[in-house]
Assembly symmetry: D2
Homo-oligomer: 398 residues x 4
């Protein structure tokens, strides 16, 4: 694979350009039938490439500048984990994912970002050397495939993220580091500001937040990171790739704790108008790498790109199928729907759920276990019925 002749991610950010990320592949492909919730592993990159390619294309068309390799949880320890019998090796999956991302990136102004994420090995208290070896294996593929930059994302513990950054840094490629934490900090209580400082010191040029919380909460947390970095006299670029779900009711562990996770989150999905507000808020906070994570569909990224079109100077390709702020409705059959073809209508609407027997917020599960607790030791075998029974009983007593 030839290196990209395009401007790199750091050149863009240094020049003050906006870099738009893509959306969350595991959730989108789960709904399309190619990813299994629970293991959340990305074997579809090798198994059903046409589905992964199509999703990349939709995000590119929606305005994304970054094609993240579909390699979430594609570390060997995770792929082997918990009874998930795969017919592909980790290397095969990672290679296929790189090829798909590159193929679509070449169709437009896209960069390929190779991604690593937190490992079962860390949660199971393996050593720094063991955990770093896991990252190194994925990285070998990314280097062979010559990705444009690297992202260490979805880390709940800053310590593991630092280890990842240290490994990625050795490649000489730009490194972004993104934690899945909220304003309360990482799962061991390290504040967002301190997390950011540690990641920058470890070598990350871009730091930020992805997943676990809704857009406004993530932007707020990145602001805390920025404050920390600036107070420490350091410099960085900032990124944010939040959920496309409303999570005002979450605790420190985010949407994983919500009783609706992962199969009943529908009423929380953000509308495109929520995304306009998010994009503007993120931009105003000084964040320039703005994308999405679980729940983001192509139309959510398009809304981000449309909100930031004045700054970027152009609309994404998919906007040919969208009027700004609902203007396409001018051509609707019914006159009262045409009456909705205006910004102030959609900007001020408070959408109903059509679920009068449901509450508006949830009481999250709060088991409060994290790395170091026996409940979190990961195993290769599927959970047994006896193990499940203990969990079911514990859950009912809540």
């Amino acid at each position: 694979m030839a290196p990209s002749a395009k401007k790199g991610v750091l050149e863009r950010l240094d020049a003050g350009e906006i870099v738009i990320g893509d959306g969350g592949f595991v959730f989108a492909l789960e709904k399309r039938g190619y990813v299994k919730a629970g293991p959340w592993t990305p074997e579809a990159a090798a198994e059903h490439p046409e589905a992964v390619r199509q999703l990349h294309r939709e995000f590119l068309r929606a305005g994304a500048n970054v094609m993240q390799t579909f390699t979430f949880y594609a570390s060997d320890d995770k792929l082997e984990n918990r009874g998930n019998k795969l017919t592909f090796t980790g290397a095969q999956i990672n290679e296929a994912a790189c090829d798909l991302a590159r193929e679509v990136a070449n169709e437009g102004d896209g960069l390929v970002a190779g991604g690593v994420s937190q490992t079962p090995s860390y949660l199971s208290c393996k050593s720094e050397i063991d955990v770093k070896a896991i990252f190194k294996k994925q990285l070998d593929v990314f280097i062979k495939k010559n990705v444009d930059f690297l992202i260490a994302e979805y880390f709940e513990h800053v310590e593991e993220a630092e280890w990842a950054v240290q490994v990625l840094k050795e490649t000489g490629k730009p490194v972004a580091a993104s934690l899945c934490i909220g304003p309360q900090g990482d799962l061991h209580g390290v504040s967002p500001g301190e997390c950011a400082v540690r990641l920058v010191k470890a070598g990350a040029q871009i730091v930020g937040i992805n997943c676990h919380f809704d857009p406004m909460t993530c932007v707020k947390t990145v602001k805390m990171m920025k404050d920390g970095v600036e107070k420490a006299g350091l410099k960085a670029h900032y990124m944010v790739q939040p959920l496309a779900y409303h999570t005002p009711d979450c605790g420190c562990q985010g949407f994983i704790d919500l009783p609706e996770f992962p199969f009943a989150l529908e009423p929380r999905i953000l509308s495109r108008w929520d995304m306009h507000k998010y994009a503007r808020e993120a931009y105003n906070a000084g964040i320039r790498f703005i994308g999405g994570c679980c729940g983001f569909e192509p139309y959510h990224i398009r809304a981000v790109a449309e909100e930031l079109a004045p700054e970027r100077g152009f609309l994404p390709a998919a906007s040919e199928k969208h009027g700004n702020w609902g203007a396409g409705l001018e051509m609707h059959t019914k006159p009262w729907v045409r009456a909705r073809a205006r910004r102030d209508y959609w900007e001020n609407l408070k959408p109903a759920s059509g679920r009068p027997l449901c509450p508006s917020m949830s009481a999250p599960d709060s088991w409060g276990v994290t790395k170091g607790h026996t409940e979190l030791m990961q195993q290769k075998e599927a959970t047994t019925q006896d193990q499940l029974k203990v969990l079911f009983d514990k859950s009912k007593s809540h």
Copy 2:
């Protein structure tokens, strides 16, 4: 195109088999960036065939037996309508849609259904002859491409649906007829029972409901149709292809009147567990052609197929990426999420919206205009700013 060697739709239904429909293309492709809300026309069949093909495949994989040609609103009068400048002729779009549906149908146990829907000509009070000529033009393509059966769907007025059935009937192919009405009947007040009798008398072998209302409301309306048909001493098969949105607050015109239509319906999206209930309810009501319309994504159809797996005797292909009733969560990293890997958890959960500033129901717009009112005369030109201003003002006073 060779005729399908598969069992036809009527053979299946006569044998008591379940026929699973696909989901709603215009809404799904709008979110993926290929359809424009407002005109809702299907030019993507010719313009972006890879996107349409992929969606067909996902529905096939999810368990659908019917590939509906992506020809909604593909009548020439609609395609020309309201400033929607297209680079493809109606014939090109209809042909491309037939080819895509056939290609994917051939990859599995799928039948191709050619679909026509209500026309601007009828709303604008054109004559029966004019309206029938519109249907005839689409039909010529369906015959050339040798679709397996025909569906006249999304009609608000039973009179226009009868005209469509009469035209379709001449082909000798099986004809299904599906209205987008609720328990209150069609927009001129004809009851569901009487509508069904008129459609059967016009020649439809399958009658039912699609779009505009949520699954339970649609099943209820089909039951009323069935009662009417049986009381009249007639016979028919029944179909239902509802919205994937909760609409307890709708009036006779369904979700078009909801203030959230079409860009803020997210909080209303049904979960897969809602779909289990729907599929069972539809089956228990004696309906055997069970599918979806706007809002249905592949995972919704998969849930229908999973609920009805005991009756059908097999699971859909996409279930390899899904454990029954959340069983895939047995392999989740967090123990409290593994504790959700059971039916009674998901079946009884009342999902929160995460939107504490939003209501649970809406007061629908109720302009109460329908065929015969001047507000509904359709025009080819885009709505002018002056025309819009009148609508905006009328809307604000509500």
Copy 3:
């Protein structure tokens, strides 16, 4: 007790005057600590007269023209019923209630209405003679105390209400009859229109609805009664005394079936602004006897009187402590609260519940038992633990 020299209720209604009723005593006094929920008997009239007198006064001051004797469920069969050991005889309670109502009525423009309501005897399938004898006993007190008119209220079965009217009619005093039913009709399925006709034919000069449903639903039901009476070529006056609770989710049996009844209805309490809308709607429907039932506090009746002040020509006494449509807020300490001193603020406000973990509607209990079912046979002894266990188990399985 001397007869009232005031204009009688029929004279007022014949003259087109508005007669404002009072609110619900059992619910208001339960909250003040003088009535026990469950038995709901009115022994406080004899036991704690100062509390009953004060509540009468508050309603008079709020604008009520009718002081209903606090004799709900004061029939001997009810007072003896279900383990409710009383130290007062039925006659003592009824007499004390008459005296209190008269005392306060004399302080202003109030009329005294003696009230009877449905009996355990009827529910237990006693004969017409037995049930009528029960009414007769209460009536003897009302005649002795010379009340101004009579109300047969809170009947779920029109048959029992007819019997009551027939007994009351013999006194020669004006008779009002009020059912606690909704648009679906009485518990044996008799429609509101037919119920009204039967009550008028039995001799009632005023017919209507009280309790069990929210104001708008009650007004709607009275309209159906009015339609029935008019279609039958009869004449009557109309009354409405609804709940002060929102009940959009009720079945035919009203708020009794709501899971919140009777101890968690707080989030459903109507605001004074809801009452303005109710009073106007009732007036527009041609109803002239407009009051309240369970949940109505004095400020709710005041709101009714304030809304109808233009028609009545005066404000109630308690309005000296209330500015119209919130005008009293002009004197609030905080400027942003002064900014709420206007009608359009309160009229359009959608009040939040502050309960984000609660739904907006409930699924009512629907045991569907009524007169004639063994579950409804009334007994004098308290329910035993064994009897309760059966009920608890039945309830949990819902």
Copy 4:
């Protein structure tokens, strides 16, 4: 008036006894028609003594040990304020209030507490001397009438509360001090812990929180005060008298900022079961003076007394009209309501609002003005229409 022979408040608290406060008079009497919202002044003590006496009795009967004199906002500067033309002097109102509280206290185990609250003079930036003189005038009456102890309550600024405590302290009577602040501290940002320390140092033997926030929030804030006092090596007793409204959506200024204040708070009213949880939580937090403020009706205080009956050793008088945890329903007519006669039913119920068009939370007004801002200068004259117009416009732009 003879001094009370009963055990004083400090003796009780020193002995570890629970002291139950009463509920909120201005809100309860506003609903009964005797207090005007806006000015919120207590002239009813002199004008309608029977209404005030009855409310005192209901709280006594519900289990209250403290009869607070109905002297909220009865300082001369407030009584003269904002166009509120009164026919009674401040001294007359304060004296009448003392007499009523004493009369009812003598009917049971009640103590009389004389209360002062924040003044318009402080908000208008008058001097310490001026403000203290205001308190002194009310205090003269309390001393003449020989109240049992004193409460300085409803202060938003700890500085003014300290001044009040200093004045009250000179009498030699026990002094309680209660702020209307939340966890964010007073309106000038002083933390609850520091506020408490300052009040104890000023001489208060009992410190705590009343009004402005819901029970759980108030308990949480008192805990912060207790922490502060203990860390400072000081000693105090603690009191809490919260709202009976749910306020999860409030900012630092509490329910005043909610758009529903004060005329549409109904959906937020706590049920009796909410009060059980509150009483237990307050007790567990080490608070021993437990009462209520705005929104508390007698049945709310009864619920507090019933929850704490095991600790106190007795039930309140009004429990004769109440079965524990709904047990009175054993005698209800309908069997499915008898099925609700149990603790686990009511404890776990999530009550619906019956308001499907309303949200569950509100966005509070946040004008952010406090002492020192010109908008808060208080005036004697009624707000003019011109002044109101400015406020209305400012409000609409929010």
